[in-house]
């Protein structure tokens, strides 16, 4: 009974997104559509990063590297799979759907593996040192892509067609994946494992004393977080003409951090808000041209001084609606 309800629920959500897609594609112009898609990709990035930075308290500032791995991985696999899949399934939407999702999963896999590779040695470090090491890895990944000739080096990877990668990304796929990932992370965070992650954030030594396998959990969370960044990367790649190392500089990692801080480090609903906020505000400020980034940086500083816990702190949106006695506020910040 439960299972049938769950399946019906999933089908219902997917149908709703599909219906919304028609409205969006016909009602809004390309420019606004692009912002909506970017907001969705941001949500995936934010919610994924929040798992490791917010919930587990391990500060990574090089996540753009994993997004890059996912982007390149998905682009490459997508291009290579296109031939065989189209041969067996024909040129229609079904074939495209299969190629796209397989490509995204491949990108996520590559990103997750790189998350493991980076996480295993790094997560032995604490605080500032961990942050700087992740920054270093992020840059190394970018430099590697910058020099990978089979992936186009600095120019970027555009697939085999001179007009670029196939534009698989659309509203339906982005938001279907948004829902999937938000549900996944939500279930993880509010499970026993999630509680252990929060324990690691609050006091790692105490958690270890309580027999929590801290290293294993930290690395797993890191890898999952990297994999979600990979999905976001794959979605991003297929809405551009191609993938370039320049898109994944340190500034991108900072963007991701701003998203989760604005919403509240440790809060999933906060991350969702932060993702949307960033996409929208950057576009609104675009007219300010060269003043845009100056204001953006100022915003970051002001937030950290005035309200470092962001909008929701570590609480969730649904906590605000609880009628019962307020839960004791957990320690703010990491």
């Amino acid at each position: 009974m439960h299972r049938a309800l769950r399946v019906a629920g999933v089908a219902g959500v997917l149908l709703a997104i599909y219906a919304l897609q028609f409205g969006i594609e016909n009602g809004l112009n390309d420019y606004v559509q692009r912002i909506v898609l970017l907001a969705g990709i941001n949500i995936i990035l934010a919610v994924g990063l929040n798992l490791i930075n917010g919930t587990t308290g391990q500060f990574s500032i090089g996540h753009a590297g994993f997004m890059a791995v996912g982007a390149y991985g998905a682009a490459y696999v997508g291009v290579k799979l296109a031939g065989p899949v189209h041969a067996s399934l024909g040129p229609g939407a079904l074939a495209n759907a299969v190629i796209f999702n397989l490509a995204l999963l491949a990108g996520a896999l590559f990103a997750g593996i790189s998350g493991l590779i980076v996480g295993m040695p790094s997560l032995r470090l604490r605080g500032d040192y961990l942050a700087v090491v992740t920054l270093g890895f992020g840059e190394i990944i970018r430099i590697l892509f910058n020099n990978a000739t089979f992936l186009g080096s600095a120019t970027g990877y555009f697939g085999d067609d001179p007009s670029g990668l196939p534009a698989y990304t659309n509203f339906f796929w982005v938001y279907a994946w948004v829902c999937a990932i938000v549900v996944l992370i939500h279930n993880l965070t509010f499970s026993q494992t999630g509680r252990s992650l929060i324990a690691i954030r609050e006091d790692e030594i105490a958690a270890e004393a309580m027999a929590t396998p801290t290293t294993r959990l930290k690395v797993t969370a890191f890898a999952i977080s990297a994999a979600t960044a990979g999905i976001a990367g794959g979605l991003f790649a297929h809405m551009q003409a191609g993938v370039r190392p320049e898109d994944f500089r340190f500034e991108k990692s900072i963007d991701m951090i701003v998203m989760i801080i604005v919403g509240g480090l440790g809060s999933i609903s906060g991350a969702i808000f932060g993702g949307i906020f960033l996409a929208v505000s950057l576009e609104l400020m675009r007219d300010l041209q060269q003043y845009r980034l100056v204001l953006y940086a100022l915003l970051l500083i002001v937030i950290m001084i005035v309200r470092p816990q962001g909008l929701l702190g570590t609480r969730e949106l649904h906590h605000l609606f609880r009628r019962r006695a307020k839960p004791t506020p957990p320690a703010e910040g990491a």
Partner: protein, 305 residues
Amino acid sequence: MTQFLQQIINGLSLGSIYALIALGYTMVYGILKLINFAHGEVFMVGAYTGLHAASALGIDAYEASGRSFPLYLALLVLVVAMAAAATLGMLIEFLAYRPVRTAPRLTPLITAIGVSLFLQNAGMLVFSPNPQRYPAILREVRFELFGVIVTNIKLTIFGVALALMLSLHLLVQKTWTGRAMRALSFNIDAAKLMGIDTNRVIRSTFAIGSALAAAGGILFGLDQITITPLMGVLTGLKAFVAAVLGGIGSIPGAVVGGLLIGLAEQLTAGYLSPAYRDAITFVILIGILLLKPEGLLGVVRVEKV
């Protein structure tokens, strides 16, 4: 062989500049346990201040007529730039870092990143994003030794860096301020209890570090010919890695780290590929943090529960 020696000379001069910047990072981290991401931008501002000070003192006229810029004016430019950077450093400390000094470690880290981004972009607005040619505050004279080209600028870099580092060493070891700085780096609360005005010492630390970075900036401009508002980003990061390599909190460590990073970078660019010159710094960072996180000359700190 001459190519190797040439790369070594280039590496050491680059490394001296990194060392000057790394000193600022290491001193601030030693006391506040804060990675001052904005330090690279202070370096940049120092370079640009030098450029504009030189212009204001009429360097264009000297260059056009082929005369060299007088030494006393060059020193004036240096002093002005160092003073400007020191002021900027103290301002950043007061406005951005002091309010979050007691917050959990993450908050100041992100604030520092914010200040860094702000200064980069403000720099592009104020100083124009195009690369600008650095004025010949010191006229370049080349000489050849065993097939290796050395310029007076490289020698000046070594000289100035050495002089400043020695002065810093004397300051830290022999003066009251220096002793106070060392006390704060051991235990900031105990120092406060001992009656030391921690705010003043912290301000001085920022001022000194920033002044050194400005000197590095002018030397960088003279050596690299062009400067841009984003020059501090990568250079600052590499200097930070140098500080970590040498042992963060250790002044001799910053010097050793700077020289090593400079050499590693130049040798990688020359013998492996210029594309990897930046990557090698990060590889070294990861290596040292995994193998010997306290750095080459650092001291292991035990975390008490």
